[in-house]
């Protein structure tokens, strides 16, 4: 996969998990860029009318959108109630204008079966107008995002490094990032086994994350050079312990591997804007600790 495209894909995945109004705003921005010149219309609440259960409208296709970006789909009852209410109200206000009602959600693991069942049920029980009820999740929204120009992606998600930036990573950039990692005490025991060749595959990282890691691996030796050169001989072990601790926390939250990868990027470079050289150095650092088996899972030995 192309490096820049891979980088944008992971940034997109991170933003996709935005919550509430932030998610709706993100969705609207993607759609406005994808269907410009007033084709997609961003809708906002207006006085007592509210938004009349319309979170966005695509004129050319007669699609009406309803966004739902909670922290979690559980418990399901509020979600099911929202689908019913929103569709009913949308039909009341907008029925002449739409043929497809789209429930847009932010759960990267997919739509819960009961919600799908409800959508199908509502669709089949319509008395007069035959509106299609569908859901859009990560893949659908990403397909729209993939249709954007590079300029539009940059406008939305910021400047990202390219492959050359990673090849230009030097010790200084690595030092500036790793010096901010809060050091953990040295561990009592250390796993000294070499990294298995199938580790990348075993961890079910997406093509995008795997691409970024592979490119990062080309500069992992810069990280090693830095860590071996620091006066404190315990530095490597204490930084590695910090990465292991953060990885363990993320794993305990049941996140998918790509989300863990994005959070680890954030762990290294911090929140907020980062220069392309810091973003590139972050990849070298993650690739180094990936190869050193301090983050992500080690595959089981062959039988």
């Amino acid at each position: 996969m192309d490096f820049k495209r891979a980088y944008y894909e992971l940034l997109f995945r991170d933003r996709y998990r935005d919550l509430g109004e932030s998610f709706q705003d993100f969705f609207s921005t993607v759609m406005e860029q994808r269907y410009p010149n007033g084709d997609f219309v961003r809708v906002r609440p207006w006085g007592n009318s509210g938004d009349r259960k319309n979170d966005g409208y695509l004129r050319s296709k007669r699609y009406l959108f309803q966004c739902f970006g909670p922290k979690s789909m559980h418990p399901l009852q509020p979600c099911l109630a929202k689908v019913k209410t929103d569709f009913k109200e949308a039909s009341r206000y907008w029925k002449e204008y739409f043929d497809v009602w789209i429930f847009v959600h932010n759960d990267p693991s997919g739509l819960p079966a009961p919600v799908l069942e409800l959508l199908l049920d509502l669709e089949s029980k319509q008395k007069k107008k035959n509106v299609r009820l569908i859901s859009w999740g990560f893949s659908e929204l990403k397909a729209e995002f993939d249709g954007l120009t590079d300029d539009a992606k940059q406008l939305m998600l910021g400047v990202v490094p390219d492959r050359k930036d990673v090849l230009d990573v030097r010790v200084e950039a690595v030092r500036r990032l790793l010096d901010h990692i809060a050091l953990q005490p040295e561990p009592q025991t250390v796993d000294m086994r070499p990294v298995p060749a199938t580790k990348l595959q075993h961890n079910q990282l997406s093509d995008a994350a795997a691409t970024l890691l592979r490119v990062g691996m080309s500069r992992a030796q810069v990280v090693q050079k830095y860590l071996r050169g620091v006066p404190d001989p315990t530095r490597y072990d204490r930084v590695a312990a910090a990465f292991r601790a953060r990885y363990a926390e993320l794993r305990a939250e049941d996140r998918i591997p790509d989300d863990i990868f994005v959070e680890l990027q954030r762990f290294v470079r911090g929140d907020g804007e980062a220069s392309t050289s810091h973003q590139a150095a972050t990849l070298a650092i993650l690739a180094f600790f990936f190869e050193a088996c301090e983050i992500f899972e080690r595959p089981p030995p062959p039988p």
Binding site: V190, D191, M192, R228, P233, R235, D237
Partner: protein, 82 residues
């Protein structure tokens, strides 16, 4: 610290630094003298070891009874044949 790890090269582990120190103890020496001689050896190992790491290696030698400390000097431990 004592043994090598993924991040601690074998020549920087306390065990190895301790062995290097023992080699310098042909006769009793003060800690400062020992450090000065080791630093001036021009060894690339000791170029990269900080002073407190050197002290930890000395502590290790003392704990395993490989060195004695008497009259302000470090010396190889005497082995009494019983």
């Amino acid at each position: 610290m004592i043994l090598p790890t993924k991040g601690l090269a074998p020549d920087r582990a306390l065990l190895s630094v301790g062995a290097t120190i023992l080699r310098e103890l042909d006769r009793p020496k003060t800690v400062s003298r020992l450090w000065e001689q080791l630093s001036n050896r021009g060894s690339s190992l000791l170029d990269s070891i900080p002073y407190d790491w050197f002290l930890l290696a000395l502590d290790l030698l003392f704990i395993v009874q490989a060195v004695d400390f008497e009259d302000g000097r470090v010396s190889r431990a005497r082995r009494d044949n019983k």
